[in-house]
Amino acid sequence: MSRLYDTVEPAVIDEEMLKKAVEEQGPKEEAGKIAKQEGIDFGDVLSLRLDFLNILKIDNLWEFTKLTKLQLDNNIIEKIEGLESLVNLVWLDLSFNNIEVIDNLDSLTKLEDLTLYSNRISTIENMDSLLNLHVLSLGRNQLTDLENLRYLRRFKNLKTLNLSDNPFCKQDEYKQYVIAFLSNLEFLDYRLVDQQSRDAAIEKYQVSRDEMLHNEKQAEIKKEDETKRQQELEKHKNAYVELMNGPDLFEQMYAEDKEGQKLNEMPGLEDQLHSFKEKFMQICTQIFDFGIAEHEKREEEVKSFWECVEEAKQDNKRLGMVHIDEFTETKKRMLLEMSQMSDHKMVEQYARDYNDKIQVLWDKLMGLELQLVDQLEEVIKEFERNMQDMVGTFVENVQALLSQCRDLENNHHEKMMEIAIVTLEKVIKNELDDEISDDLKMLLVDKDTIINAVSSSHDVHLLKIDNKEDDIVTRINQSLKNLIEQIHQDEEITRNRMRVSEINNLIDHLREEMDNLEVMQN
């Protein structure tokens, strides 16, 4: 529905309008009075209604971060915008406006109820993140394409849908189409979808529906596999041996080694190359297995460490709470006794006692805290030592295995050299039986060239292995350092400061309470 909005002055959402709306819709009666005196923070408002205000542009709503319900119906809004910060929104009403495109709703992931009734929307789109949607109203819009409705399949929770008064409603198969392809729907166009019509609709579109379901399932499986693979890789990365269970390192060695690739074409090299690759791969697998095992061991270590720390903290907390509870009991008793006393001196005596008790409580709590600090310090030190040992053995072993790789490479290099020289001789003597590529021919011109080529290939390989080693060693050391630092920071410093400030705060409060009481009695 379009109105002649240019006859009326469009309004702007400004502070005045918002204030008025908030006050009108805020608490009533006495509470309203208090609220007015105090002023209402826009940040606290949970629901807001801005209807029939001739608003053209949504704006200035960024302050309402807690808003769960927003009504902007019966305005002349042309574009959805300015709602990005209202992430808590559950209910959004934009009906009776002039919106043409669904857009800018991506941040409203909690949205459950969206009404876009009576607008000018022609395609359903840009709602991928609204996965919690329960109710959607798109009635009286410009929707023409039934196929477009398949977009709504992604909303698994969608139960209520309104599409009435759209151009495609005139098509005969409209209703059955919707029911068949959105079979989770419970209400369509104000009516309950009964089982009978659902069955009929599904039957009608059986073939295409099955196909669609099949495709969806395939996609889902694919996605799952992908995530699984990702997780696996992530795990291997955490173990610092990612891709070592495959030919990755070996391939990398040859990836930047053009001469090596050429040289590999030399006749009589195949067997050698094959066995070299096999042996190399074997060592890589060893590294991989070892790395995973070590990783699991480290995880176990970290887990048991955290368990023990948590336990210690819980024990400490329990003791602290017992002390506080005990004190609260005494406090209650003393206050009762004091309130019944008339003798001034006695009261003062009691007050002094009470203050002493507070001091004792402080001592106890602080004592507990200090004890915990000591205990944790010790444990953390031990943990650090153990972790360092473990990392040390890991690094050593990996290095040993990689040096085996190097040996292999050296052997391979020597063999390569021999074969290269033999081949060169053959080439020179023109005894070579097989055809060789031009690239290789370029290398097989004289002895220096071929030796240079082989050595440079060897150097590249060694470099790759060194790089891998460096990478593993630096990464594991870095992460260990981070972990230890984190533990020191969180468990020792932050926790301690927080607890101490908490104890002091409590003690101050107790003292203050006493002072107030004394003042009152005086």
Binding site: I34, E307, C308, V309, Q375, F383, I503
Partner: protein, 861 residues
């Protein structure tokens, strides 16, 4: 064993008799020449009068011989054979083991016929599922029969009554008990035996007054091993112990000494009591004959051998001190004689019945595993074969005849009555147990256990009563006569889900000390327990959506009213001073907003809130509100100012709440207080209602009867009878339907097997003519009635015409109604006549058709 051996035994016996005679004679000869001393001795001896042993003939109960089947009164040839064989066995035993007591082999039965004991066992599986397990069967036998002690107690009984008769007369001696129980156990698949042997006086007389009642024995609590704290790698070290070790040691020493002292005292006390409770010495110790049941392991998943005492129905271990010796053991297949030494009771006896060195068997077809020789040894094979052959011959010769006893029968009603006359009383050490059959007592009592302080059963301590089938679901009632405490237990299914109710019998009314425990799963409010004292009430909840788990209310005294007592004041609750509600942690809320405890200081117009403690903190936030002065006025505007609120926030960094929020919080709290107060009132009312219900139920004490119980359930009975009646009627109706329309005509011509054509035609004609006649008769009848009715009407009309002038209004009306009715009747008759005329031909045609199709006549048409 052949006859020659038997003869030898006889001869031997005779010889020994002769020897005794000779000895007597020599004694007599010596007595003839007397010295003076001897004279004096003789005078002394003369004073001693020796009576011949007067045999106390216990009057044997006589049975009506007519009610027994012939197998009871006579022996089959095979049985006779077995009896002879048993006699032979006995003689051999006597000859070989001269100083052994006689064996219990061939007692007479209730008809005075000798029967072999093995054949008296009649393995039976009755239809009651309780009897399928040994404990149920033993308990049943112990309950169902009354004990007849042996007379004299050191001699074997002369008679063994069959288990079927025992079931009928509901009493028996230990042998009869054991035989019956053994029959049931073997029938249920147990490897059970009757044992004849010796036992203590207490066991023989089923005197349990020195035993603790089995119901009172505390179940051995499975002590959960204190879960050892797992030593983990990074466990923190405990803080250093700064106390003096020496002092600790000294203290521990002192403690240990004290403990030892106490232990010693306790032991002494125990010994003293044990000494006091020891039974008096028994002159017949070791001679008292008893019979009980042995169950061997192996069958029915019995893991270990054990004894069952038939009088009590309890199991005893194999080394029980109650049993002093075993003579013989038998089941329905074989008879074994114990060859082991019983000087130390039954301790250490072997029950490997296949071992012929310790158990002498009577029949060689011993199904017990003999000491097996490994089959692998080839050279023994031949010998084995020979032995096998021999055994085959023997087996043919000595097959145990089937039991002569009739099948055991037990009616459902008798089984439910359990004890003779449905009642039984047992006395235990400081306790008395009374058992009643179900539905016997009006209030559903099925057993009552009274516990006494002393052994003479005079000083009652507590009474434990068990009920069944009560409509108020009461199952147990424990009355402690010392403290006056009563504890009642209920089954689920009561209207207010009460499970347990403890109160003082002196103050059963509301607002007194009591504890009520509920089936909280069934209650909407999840109430688990409600405890009351005179001024307090505590309620515990579980599994509530609002996380409430505890509620405490403190009541003040009722304000005394002067002037006339209002009746409503009794219903009005006591004023509430204080209410406390505690909540579990709701993980969906931040700890600082999740209320842990609300205290409504009603008397001081204050509300105190404590919040839950955050995970990383030790202190909790608190908040206190003063209620606005006019809070209880209806419709009043409640004001609020900052002084009415105090708070302590654990985290000082958190922003303070706004005034509006506080105001709304206060409003919520006021509502919560109102709600809490209402709930308290409701609780009070509920208590009152429950107590009212209890009084009513106690007065009525109705019993529920299951719909499946056709014996007792009147309604079900009626229903069944009705069904039966209906069925009968249905049957009758069907029979009527089948009445043959040709029968009378066939009878006329004498029901011939086959009809001739002529007969058939005449039959048909006759049948049709008969129908025609009947139709005409009916038409005539209707016609006649119609005419009669019309005539009468005419007469009446004429009469009316004549007397019209002189008639009163009433008469006139009478006439008019008559006319109306008469016309109606005439009309109906008219209708019927026409209808009859219409239908008569149809009926005629129908019959003709039917006759045509009748199989007897069809061949002719």
């Amino acid at each position: 064993m052949d006859s020659s051996e038997m003869n030898e035994g006889e001869i031997h016996q005779i010889d020994s008799d002769d020897v005794i005679k000779e000895e007597d004679e020599t004694e007599n000869e010596e007595g003839e020449d007397l010295t003076e001393d001897a004279e004096a001795l003789k005078a002394e001896l003369a004073k001693i009068v020796v009576h011949p042993p007067s045999y106390e003939q216990s009057l044997m109960e006589e049975f009506d011989q007519a009610e027994f089947s012939p197998s009871y009164k006579d022996n089959l040839p095979k049985e006779n054979l077995v009896l002879q064989y048993a006699e032979n066995f006995r003689r051999q035993m006597v000859q070989l083991y001269r100083d052994r007591k006689p064996l219990f082999l061939n007692p007479v039965n209730e008809c005075g016929v000798e029967k072999f004991v093995c054949t008296t066992i009649r393995p039976t599986l009755l239809e009651f599922k309780e009897l399928y397990n040994w404990d149920g069967a033993a308990e049943f036998v112990a309950d169902y029969l009354n004990i007849e002690p042996l007379k004299p107690e050191y001699e074997l009984p002369k008679r063994l009554i069959s288990p079927s008769t025992v079931l009928k007369r509901q009493k028996g001696n230990c042998f009869e008990y054991s035989t019956l129980l053994c029959s049931l156990l073997i029938g249920a698949g147990y490897d059970a035996y009757v044992i004849s042997g010796y036992a203590t006086k207490e066991t023989c007389l089923a005197d349990e007054s020195r035993d603790i009642c089995p119901l009172l024995k505390k179940k051995e609590e499975v002590q959960e091993e204190a879960r050892k704290k797992e030593m983990k790698k990074y466990n923190v070290k405990p803080p250093r112990d700064l106390r003096s070790k020496f002092e600790l040691k000294q203290e521990a020493k002192k403690e240990a000494e004290k403990q030892a002292e106490k232990e010693k005292q306790r032991k002494e006390e125990e010994e003293r009591i044990a000494e006091l409770e020891k039974p008096p010495p028994d002159p017949y110790f070791g001679l008292r004959i008893h019979a009980w049941v042995l169950v061997l392991s192996g069958k029915r998943e019995v893991p270990e051998n054990f004894f069952i005492e038939p009088f009590t129905g309890l199991s005893h271990p194999m080394d029980s001190s109650n049993y002093l010796g075993i003579e013989s053991v038998w089941n329905n297949v074989n008879y074994w004689v114990n060859m082991q030494d019983c000087s130390e009771g039954v301790k250490g006896l072997s029950f490997d019945l296949g071992d012929s060195t310790v158990w002498e068997f009577m029949f060689p077809n011993n199904d017990k595993p003999l000491l097996k020789i490994p089959d692998a040894e080839d050279d023994l094979n031949d010998m084995d074969d020979d032995e096998d052959d021999e055994e085959h011959e023997v087996e043919k010769y000595l097959d145990m005849p089937p039991s002569w006893v009739d099948a055991l029968k037990l009616s459902h009603r008798d089984f439910q009555m359990r004890c003779p006359h449905g009642k039984k009383t047992k006395v235990y050490k400081r306790a008395k147990l009374e058992k009643f059959a179900h539905y016997l007592m009006k209030d559903g009592l099925i057993s009552r256990l009274s516990v006494y302080e002393d052994r003479e059963l005079t000083d009652l301590m507590k009474v434990h009563e068990y009920y069944a089938h009560r409509s108020d679901k009461l199952t147990q009632k424990l009355t402690n006569h010392r403290t006056g405490q009563v504890c009642e237990n209920f089954d689920p299914g009561r209207p207010r889900c009460l499970k347990e109710h403890q109160f003082k019998s002196s103050t059963p009314g509301p607002e007194n000390e009591r504890v009520m425990i509920f089936y909280h799963e069934a209650r909407v409010d999840g109430l688990v327990k409600r405890e009351e004292t005179q001024t307090e009430m505590t309620e515990e909840y579980s599994n509530r959506d609002d996380f409430l788990f505890y509620k405490y209310v403190e009541f003040g005294k009722r304000a005394k009213k002067f002037g006339p007592q209002e009746t409503s004041s009794a219903n009005k609750g006591r004023p509430i001073n204080k209410m406390i509600q505690k909540f579990h942690r709701n993980r969906n809320k931040p700890a600082n907003e999740d209320i842990a405890e609300i205290i409504f200081h009603v008397a001081e117009d204050k509300i105190h809130i404590s919040y839950h403690t955050e995970d990383v903190r030790i202190a909790a936030s608190t908040r206190e509100f003063l209620k606005p002065p006019n809070w209880d006025e209806k419709g009043a505007v409640l004001t609020f100012n900052p002084e009415m609120h105090q708070t302590f926030q654990v985290d000082p960094m958190l922003p303070m709440n706004k005034q509006v929020e506080l105001y709304e919080m206060l409003m919520e709290l006021l509502k919560a207080e109102e709600k809490c107060r209402n709930e308290v009132r409701d609780s009070q009312n509920e208590v009152r209602n429950i107590l009212d219900d209890r009084t009513k139920e106690e007065a009525a004490s109705e019993l529920d009867i299951s719909v499946y119980d056709t014996e007792r359930n009147e309604k079900a009975k009626k229903h069944r009878r009705e069904l039966e009646r209906q069925q009968l009627e249905e049957k009758m109706r069907k029979q009527e339907m089948d009445i043959d329309y040709l029968a009378p005509f066939l009878a006329k011509i004498g029901n011939p097997e086959k009809l001739s054509k002529q007969q058939a035609f005449s039959l048909k004609e006759e049948c049709l003519a008969d129908l025609k006649q009947r139709l005409i008769d009916k038409a005539n009848l209707i016609q006649a009635r119609f005419e009669k009715e019309s005539q009468e009407l005419e007469k009446k009309q004429a009469w009316y015409q004549q007397n019209q002038v002189s008639m009163g209004k009433e008469d006139e009306e009478e006439y008019l109604t008559y006319c109306k009715e008469a016309i109606f009747r005439i009309h109906i008759l008219d209708l019927r006549l026409t209808r009859h005329k219409e239908q008569a031909p149809h009926k005629y045609m129908q019959l003709e058709q039917k006759l045509r199709n009748d199989e007897r006549l069809s061949e002719f048409f």
